[in-house]
């Protein structure tokens, strides 16, 4: 370390060689996102090809550009494309929501699945299906209301301790358990055919996705992704430096948290309203994205890209992994995510950071 010499004025220097800042900080992150998106595209292509009738990539391309016979067009564009697009976009939304919550709670377990937002949205949606009716808009409103109710409860319950750490996770696990009990009660007390609709919805599935049905959710979700990514990314990176540093740099940490929670709940609710609760993507995607991008702290873009890949792959596996059987994507993510959660808890426990 050099000793301070005589006083000298600030020296204005040309940009440092090799420190082209604009490249420096985003090159790995950008590459990671590009790679994840390319993989997602590959998985989506596979999803367009596979099914009862298998098409070659050329046939898929022809169908997409409207040059294929009617049957191929029907299978690829009408049936498989909406589902593939929905899987990627909803995955990105869940991934981003997870990144938001993990950043706000400063806890790798602070994902919406664990702290009860997903359960809240799910219970809200099921309540609407069972008590009012299964119109898309009503279910969406129910999921949104459920999500915000849980958010309000969580903020209240973890008051004093701050919305961070272990306390939040514990409060969330308790809330999730209560909410799934409530959900079961709604399903049991409803008429049989309604109960079946509600139960099916609550496993989380992309079955029967079509552009007319899911289109508005896709548009709203994409808009939310962009607004949140651009609007909150920098604020979240300041929050990573601590509350005082963030406030001193002009970004009120309380406001950042509030905005992030609100955005996260809306993202979760939009996806949940259309597809039902899809677990664990929001937990795992940010970890995968952050690690691949080598990012410190919040990494919204890589998390969203990882989410897209995870959900697209999970849906592909659910449909085609076991020939002759098609499983809801929610079932796949629960099975795979459960294993992931156990390893994560074991590792955090060893580090003592839980």
């Amino acid at each position: 370390m050099s000793r301070t010499g005589a006083a000298r004025a600030f020296v204005l220097r040309a940009p440092l060689p090799g420190v082209r800042a604009s490249e420096r900080f985003s090159v790995r992150s950008t590459l990671t996102c590009a790679a994840l998106l390319a993989l997602t595209a590959a998985v989506s292509l596979a999803a367009l090809m596979l099914g009862e009738v298998v098409y070659s990539p050329q046939q898929v391309a022809q169908a997409l550009f409207g040059e294929a016979p009617g049957a191929a067009e029907l299978f690829v564009v009408q049936w498989r494309l909406p589902r593939a697009v929905t899987a990627a976009v909803f995955g990105a939304m869940l991934g981003l929501a997870g990144a938001l919550f993990q950043s706000v709670t400063r806890n790798p377990l602070g994902s919406p699945d664990i702290i009860g937002f997903t359960a809240g949205s799910s219970a809200g949606g099921v309540a609407v299906v069972a008590l009012i009716g299964s119109s898309h808009l009503m279910v969406a409103a129910g999921a949104l209301a459920g999500g915000f109710a849980v958010a309000a409860l969580i903020v209240l319950l973890s008051r004093g301790g701050g919305i961070a750490g272990f306390r939040l996770v514990i409060a969330g696990i308790a809330l999730s358990a209560m909410l799934s009990g409530l959900e079961t009660w709604f399903i049991l007390s409803a008429d049989l055919d309604i109960a079946q609709v509600a139960a099916l919805w609550s496993t989380g599935s992309l079955n029967g996705t079509g552009f007319t049905y899911t289109g508005p959710a896709l548009l709203a979700g994409t808009a939310m992704l962009l607004v949140t990514g651009f609007g909150l990314g920098r604020r979240l990176r300041l929050l990573d430096l601590g509350d005082d540093a963030s406030a001193a740099l002009g970004a009120d940490p309380g406001r950042t948290r509030l905005l992030a929670i609100a955005a996260g709940v809306v993202l979760i609710a939009i996806a949940t309203a259309s597809a039902g609760p899809i677990a664990f993507v929001a937990l795992a995607a940010p970890h995968i994205g952050r690690r691949l991008a080598g990012a410190a702290g919040a990494a919204p873009a890589p998390s969203a890209c990882a989410g897209a890949l995870v959900l697209a792959s999970a849906d592909l596996a659910g449909q085609h992994a076991i020939p002759g059987h098609s499983y809801p994507v929610g079932l796949v993510t629960v099975a795979v995510g459960g294993i992931y959660l156990i390893t994560l808890i074991a590792r955090e426990n060893r580090k003592g950071t839980l």
């Binding site: 940009p15 651009f230 001193a248 970004a251």
Partner: protein, 263 residues
């Protein structure tokens, strides 16, 4: 004055002189940090007002204040794996808007901040792999990249060894002298305060007990009153200015003279 602040909180008033290196001294839990946090707009005084550039600091937008005033907080969190460069560039936030991308000016500010703190060569190293002194300098660079004329430093030298403390304090003195920045720092070492401060503020029990030039403020009587220590103030034989020598229990009889260079 351009950056002058005037604080009235719990009945205390303070003027921070423009272009000076002001040091706040005082025992633990006397309200130093609270005072600094009020100055930094992190706390709103229940009664009274903090003025920055003659305007109520709470009536200004947080981002505007951040372009005038930088803070090195005590509670800073270093995200795992963050590089020096990534940390420093986050200091540019108040100068950026939602849509603006990284500009030439951002780049120059970061390069200047790294240069001033002599961190340029370490720019790509992860902060958590650096020594304590280097880590603190990386944080100072982050605050410098903010390009604010006023810097508030909350115990910047705590947990550093002597050599790192002096390097850092010399850096602050340089920023004050040649960079023309107004500095307000909380320090614990009375002799460091005596040597580096242009203006010294001594606090005790939530009150400001004395303020002024260090050689006027630091007297054996004041040290006894505020810190409950028995001390002799002599002329610093190397740097000039006051030097405080504390007496330890069981030591030889006190010398009553105030300016008596011994040895």
């Amino acid at each position: 004055m351009a950056y002058d602040k005037h604080v009235v909180g719990e009945g205390l008033s303070l003027d921070v002189p423009d272009g000076e290196f002001t040091v706040i001294l005082g025992p633990n839990a006397c309200g130093k940090s609270t005072l600094l946090r009020s100055l930094a707009r992190l706390l709103k005084p229940q009664a009274g007002t903090v003025y920055l550039d003659g305007k109520d600091i709470h009536r200004r937008r947080a981002k505007d204040v951040a372009t005038r005033l930088g803070l090195l907080p005590q509670s800073a969190v270093t995200p795992a794996g963050i590089t020096v460069f990534d940390l420093v560039r986050r200091g540019r936030y108040p100068h950026q808007s939602v849509l603006s991308r990284w500009s030439e000016e951002d780049e120059r500010s970061v390069a200047r901040a790294l240069e001033a703190t002599r961190m340029t060569d370490l720019a790509h190293r992860p902060v958590d792999e650096l020594s304590g002194g280097q880590r603190q300098r990386a944080w100072v660079a982050m605050v410098l990249a903010q390009e604010s004329p006023v810097l508030l430093l909350d115990e910047p030298t705590t947990f550093l060894d002597v050599s790192h403390q002096i390097t850092l304090l010399d850096l602050f003195a340089e920023l004050n002298r040649t960079g023309g920045r107004t500095l307000v720092a909380i320090l614990h070492d009375i002799n460091h305060a005596a040597r580096y401060a242009g203006h010294l503020v001594v606090m005790s029990d939530g009150r400001i007990v004395a303020q002024g030039r260090p050689d006027e403020v630091l007297t054996a009587g004041l040290l006894a009153e505020v810190f409950d220590i028995e001390a002799t103030v002599i002329e610093d034989p190397v740097n000039g200015g006051p030097l405080i020598i504390t007496r330890h229990r069981g030591a030889a009889a006190p010398s009553p003279s105030r300016k008596a260079p011994q040895r």
